[in-house]
């Protein structure tokens, strides 16, 4: 079995006695785009900080590949690229000089051809030698992505990568992230407030609330809503519930793995008819809010 690309194990962190992250554990598989969700102050940034060794955890550890961020930070981050909510660069240097300097901090001598390739992929080939202070927000964001891919990263940590982008920029960023996963097999840990974005990119998410992990796994589930005639009596009701059906308003919601055969037979025997079956596709927003409220 392939080891996880990122493993967070019982991470804890408090600031001035207030817990920011409480016993957090989750895994990100190789080559997947994994979403880290939560309100402001849920602990996402602190988790990112601990993954990058910028925040010292009070307990637990994070692993990138097989390397501990606490004890082997250099090796753990050797193949990790990161983008922050607002990428900050040296405005008084060119995009090229920014890339060259940041890559040198990865212990690599940046090859001009590689820098040119990444700049071109980010659509900055014509402006890469201009001072960053002349860049638009979208260009800065693309420069942020370019630096995160250098020198040859395999894991990306993206904190609000589409923040402040226009709809076209958001679409391009989404396509790039998907392309990096599909063509280069990169693993992406993505944090975003735009749940619609995460929904399109991530099959698995972790939901944080007040520093605690509320959910981790595949959020996408197809359910169906069954409407029936009459009110089922105690025995039929318990039969429905045993089958995994849950009453929702005037209907019953069935899970993805619901096998209707025996249940329908029991309903028919009790003189109850199924009047409609409607397939329901839940949005990530619905799922997120349900999880937070529960």
């Amino acid at each position: 079995m392939t080891p996880p690309a990122i493993r967070v194990q019982n991470l804890r962190k408090s600031f001035a006695g207030r817990p920011a992250v409480h016993d957090l554990s989750f895994e990100v598989r190789q080559g997947e785009i994994f979403g880290l969700l939560g309100h402001n102050g849920a602990g996402k940034s602190t988790t990112f900080g601990m993954l990058l060794g910028m925040v010292a955890p009070d307990g637990g550890d994070a692993f990138i590949g097989s390397h501990s961020v606490r004890t082997e930070r250099g090796a753990a981050l050797a193949k990790v690229g990161a983008i922050f909510e607002t990428p900050c660069f040296y405005d008084y240097l060119s995009g090229w000089d920014n890339l060259a300097f940041l890559v040198s901090l990865s212990g690599a001598k940046p090859a001009d051809s590689r820098l040119r390739e990444v700049a071109a992929n980010a659509g900055l080939q014509d402006r890469i030698h201009d001072k960053v202070r002349t860049y638009s927000h979208g260009m800065r964001q693309r420069l942020g992505l370019a630096q995160a891919l250098l020198p040859g990263q395999e894991v990306l940590l993206l904190d609000e990568p589409t923040d402040g982008l226009d709809p076209q920029g958001i679409q391009e960023m989404r396509a790039t992230i998907r392309d990096l996963r599909d063509r280069k097999g990169m693993t992406v840990l993505l944090s975003s407030h735009l749940l619609a974005e995460v929904e399109q990119l991530c099959d698995r998410v972790a939901i944080l609330h007040q520093g605690r992990l509320l959910f981790c796994g595949e959020w996408r589930r197809s359910t169906s809503r069954w409407r029936i005639t009459g009110e089922p009596d105690g025995a039929v009701r318990s039969r429905l519930e045993q089958s995994g059906l849950v009453p929702v308003g005037d209907a019953w919601e069935a899970p993805e793995d619901f096998h209707p055969g025996e249940t329908v037979a029991a309903l028919v025997a009790a003189g109850i008819r199924v009047t409609s079956v409607q397939s329901v596709t839940r949005t990530l927003e619905d799922f997120y809010l349900e999880t937070i409220r529960s």
């Binding site: 990058l52 910028m54 010292a56 990790v80 922050f84 060259a100 040198s104 212990g107 904190d159």
Partner: protein
Amino acid sequence: MSIFLLQMRGELKKLFARKRTYIGFGAFLSVELAVLLLLRLPKVQQSLERLLERAGYVAADYLSGLTLGLIITLSTVLLLGALYLALVAGDVVSKEVEEGTMRMMLARPAGRSRILALKLAACTVYTIALTVFIAVTAVAAGTLHAGWGGLFVYAPLEGVFAVYDADEGAARMALAVPFLATSLLTITCLGFCFSCMRMKPAAATIVTLSVLFVDTILKNIPFFSGIRDWFLTAKMSAWVGVFEHRIPWEAMAGQYAWLAAINATLVVVGFAVFHSRDFKS
């Protein structure tokens, strides 16, 4: 090229790409010009000539580029040098934290110690460059004004009064530059130390200058004359010793050993504080 040198090149590029780095160079040029203009005033010139002639020297032989260069350096370097070194060193870490570029650096595998070592090395290069610039331009400006000639040294606070012919004077001046740069490095280390702490860049600069000004004020209070040698700025004045007829190597070595210990302490404190800090992404 080793990776450290490559990273160092990037750090220096950052340092010397900022306008504020050049304020110090510009300010010293302005001060040198101002001092030269004031030295043209008859009253000032007469006072200088009288001082030399009272000691039995021919003023024309020693009122030279070397003498004026040293006068300019002595009178400006500790105050003005402190200001610009504190500005650059006080900014070097805290400004990057404030502007958010530090987290871009910290997200890379290079450790915090490596990042700080690069910054300290860049500040050291700046200190040396500024010192050499001050000395060279002060002597050049003085020579343009008064021509080449012997060196007259008058530093009452340090107890130095000496005259040298042009060759010996130039040699002493050249010897003074590395010692002056080493003295000024203490200001750099102070600024660097405060820059590593959780404070705004302006605060790091102001605190550094405050330490130096308070030290200077205390040093100049007559009641403290018995302990004058223990003040930081008194130790930093040790470089003037190279202008004494018999250079007090032992005493200078003692003062510089103290400065080295102080610098090391400041750097270690700066590193320790920076290592203990959390930086949220």
